[in-house]
Symmetry: C2
Subunit: 390 residues, 2 copies
C-alpha cells in the first residue's frame, strides 16, 4: 500500500426531506449571502427550489440565483457566476442539482477569489482557496458532492478538463434519495454507470497488497449490481435509490481509493466523446469502459479475473484465467446494456470519421505529450484502436 | 435505510514515517501549546516520543507531557490531565498511543472546557465543546482515531462507560502501520478482534434494505479474515499491517454503519468483563461475541446465514439456514482462537461466581432499567445465560 493523506470534511445530511435543513446548514458553515446555482427547469418544476428558498428565508439568509447549468457544464456560465458573486458580495455558494451544477459551483467558488482566469485551475494551477460551498444533490452519479474535483468544458475548442483541491470539497451535502425518483430512466442509468466507472478507475491499479480497498470497491460494485436494475424496474423504490446514493458518494470521496495508483484512462477517453457530441457522461462511459478494459486486460489478467469472480459471479477458469477476465468484461457490458445504456459508438451518436480528431485532442490537448497514463500508458495508436473497437 | 447525518472531518496522514508530519499537522489545526498524552514505556523506548517532540520543536510548538495511561483508561488520570491543561494553558491535545490513550485524551479535551465533573459526559450529558486534539496511532484496534467516541473507567465502582460527540473527533490522525510492528502478538490479535467486533455490532441491525452498508461491512470483515493471520504469522508484514490499520479506522468512523440500527450488546456485555478483570477489551470480545451471537441468532437467522456465506465461506444450507448461521459463528470462534485469542470464560480469567455481580452492574449500572437494548433486548436472565454459556 502507498502512503496517502485522506481528508473528507463534508457533513452529509441524508434522508427524506433533508433539504429542509439547508438553511441551518448554510448558517452552521458561516454563509450569510448565498448564490443559489442550479440547472434547468426540473428543480423549479418539482418545487425543490422553492423549498430551498424557504429554508434560507427561515434562517434569515439572503441570496441571489443563477440557473442554466447544462450537462457537461460550460466555462461561459462560470464567468457569469464569478461576476455575479463579486458584484453581490456572495460569501457562500449553494449548488442545487447534480454533478454538473456542483462542478460549475466549484469553478465559481475558486474563480471568485482568484485574480486571474479561473481556467488556469483547469490547466494545472493549484487551488489554494475558494468560497465555501454546499450542495443539495438531485442525482446519484458524479460523486462531486463529496469530492475535491470539478470538470468543466471550455466552449472554445470544446476542451473538457478537470481541477482538484481540498478547498473544493463541499462544507455540507444534502442527500435526499427521494429527489432522484423523478429522473428519467436514462439519466438514472447514466448516473449508475458513472458510479461504476469511478469504482473501476480505482480498482485498476498497479499497487500491490491493497486488500482493504479492493474489498471496499468490490462492495460498492456489488451494491450497484444489485440496486441499479431495481431502480430501473421501479423508479419509486426509495431504498434502492438510497443505497445507490450513498454508494455514489463513497465511490468518489476516495475513502475506498486511498493508498493505490488509479487508472482514469476510461474517463479521459470518454471526456473527448462528451465534449464533442455532448452525450451524457455516463452513456459515454458505458461505451468506453468495455473497450478500454478489453484492450488493457492482458496487463493484469488476474485483476480482471478477480473482479469477474467476486463481483460478476463468473466461474474461475483456472486453466485459462484470461477467459474469466473476458467473461467479467462481457458481464459488465451486458449489465450496462440491461439498464438501458448504449454500448456501441453508433448508439452514442459518435462517428468513426471523427476518430483522428478525438485521438489528437485526447493525446495532445491540455499539454499532453502524445499519450495518456493510467493503469497502462496509451499512446495515439492505442487510443485510435480503442475508439475503433467501440 | 434510515435517515442519518455523517460528518468525519479528520485529516488522516497515512504511511511510513508519517509521524514526522505531526508538528505541521498541529500547526495546521491551530495548536500552539500542546499536551502530549501517552501510555507506558513503549512510546518512549521505541523513540516515537522523541520523534514527536522533534517535530513539534521544529515547528516552534511548546508542550507539556502526561504519560501513564493504562489499558481501560481511568478517570483518575483524566482529572490530572484536566488540571494540567488548565494550569499550562494548553490549547491542543496530542494523543500518542492506542485507543486507551486517545480515549483518555478525548476525556481531558472535553473536561478542560467544562465547569463540572467530566464524568457527567459519560453519564449522558451532551458534549458541546472540547479542546482540539490529534493522534499518533500505535495500534489498530479501537478506531478512536476516527471516531467521536471515548470509553473511560471510573475507579470508584469500576464503572466503564462511553461518551460521544462530534467535538471529540480528532482534527488529524497520523497512521503509520510500521509503528504497530513491535506489538506483542496478543495485543495485535486483541486489536484485530476489536475491529471485527465493531463490524459485527454494525452488521447486526433491524433496519432492512441496507445493501450498501452490509456489503461495506462484509468487505472489511473479509479484509480482517485475510490480513489478521498474516500479521500473526509475520509481525513485520508492513502491507498486512497497513490494510488492517485502514480497515480499523473505516470500521469505526461509521462510514459503513450509517442509516441502520446497530447492536453494541457484545460491547456492553464485554465492558463489565474488562472493568472487573482488567483484561484486554479485544480478548473479552473474543469470548463474548460467539456467546452473544448464538444466543440471539434466532432473532434473524438469515442475517447470520448471510455473513456465514459471504464472509466465512460457509455453504448455504437452504433446507436448514440455522445450520449455516451457526457454522458462521463457529467459524468466527475458530478464527479468533487461531489468532491466539481466548474463547472461554476461564481462559479470560473470569470467574463463574462473579456472574451475579456482572449481570447486576450491566443491567442496573449507569441508569439502566434492568436490561440492555441492541439487536435484541436482553434482560438480566438473558445476560446471566450468556455469561454462563461463555
Amino acid at each position: 500500500m502507498d502512503n496517502f493523506s485522506f481528508y473528507s470534511p463534508t457533513c452529509f445530511v441524508f434522508g427524506k426531506d433533508a433539504e429542509s435543513k439547508v438553511g441551518a446548514c448554510v448558517k452552521r458553515f458561516g454563509g450569510s449571502r448565498v448564490l443559489i446555482h442550479y440547472g434547468g427547469g426540473s428543480a423549479k418544476r418539482s418545487g425543490l427550489l422553492d423549498r430551498v428558498r424557504a429554508s434560507l428565508d427561515k434562517n434569515g439568509i439572503s441570496y441571489v440565483e443563477l440557473g442554466g447549468v447544462k450537462p457537461n457544464p460550460r466555462s461561459g456560465l462560470v464567468y457569469e457566476g464569478i461576476e455575479l458573486c463579486r458584484a453581490e458580495k456572495v460569501d457562500f455558494i449553494l449548488a442545487v442539482g447534480g454533478g454538473s451544477v456542483i462542478d460549475s459551483s466549484k469553478a465559481v467558488a475558486a474563480g471568485t477569489l482568484y485574480d486571474g482566469d479561473f481556467w488556469d485551475f483547469y490547466c494545472g494551477r493549484r487551488i489554494s482557496e475558494a468560497l465555501p460551498l454546499g450542495t443539495v444533490l438531485t442525482i446519484a452519479a458524479a460523486g462531486s458532492e463529496g469530492s475535491p474535483d470539478s470538470v468543466i468544458t471550455k466552449e472554445e475548442g470544446m476542451l473538457k478538463r478537470g481541477a482538484s483541491g481540498d478547498a473544493l470539497r463541499p462544507k455540507f451535502s444534502i442527500l435526499n434519495p427521494a429527489l432522484t425518483q423523478t429522473l428519467p430512466p436514462y439519466q438514472t442509468a447514466a448516473g449508475a454507470t458513472d458510479i461504476i466507472a469511478h469504482l473501476y478507475e480505482r480498482y485498476l491499479t498497479n499497487t500491490t497488497e491493497v486488500e482493504v480497498t479492493d474489498r471496499l470497491i468490490e462492495a460498492l460494485m456489488l451494491t450497484m449490481k444489485h440496486e441499479a436494475p431495481r431502480v430501473i424496474a421501479d423508479p419509486d423504490n426509495y431504498d434502492a435509490r438510497a443505497n445507490i446514493m450513498w454508494a455514489g458518494m463513497m465511490a468518489h470521496n476516495n475513502a475506498v481509493g486511498v493508498g493505490r495508483s488509479q487508472d482514469w484512462n476510461s474517463h479521459n477517453i470518454e471526456h473527448e466523446l462528451s465534449a464533442l457530441y455532448d452525450c451524457a457522461h455516463g452513456a459515454g462511459l458505458a461505451v468506453t469502459m468495455p473497450a478500454v478494459f478489453k484492450y488493457v486486460m492482458n496487463h493484469d489478467v488476474m485483476r480482471f479475473a478477480q473482479v469477474a469472480v467476486r463481483v460478476w459471479g463468473c466461474d474461475m477458469d483456472f486453466a485459462h484465467p484470461e477467459k474469466t477476465a473476458l467473461a467479467g468484461i462481457e458481464a459488465l457490458k451486458n449489465f450496462l446494456k440491461s439498464i438501458g445504456m448504449p454500448v456501441t459508438f453508433e448508439e452514442l451518436g459518435a462517428k468513426k470519421e471523427d476518430i483522428p480528431t478525438l485521438v489528437n485532442v485526447l493525446c495532445h490537448g491540455n499539454g499532453r505529450s502524445g499519450y495518456i497514463q493510467g493503469f497502462v500508458r496509451l499512446d495515439e495508436e492505442d487510443c485510435r484502436k480503442i475508439y475503433e473497437s467501440m
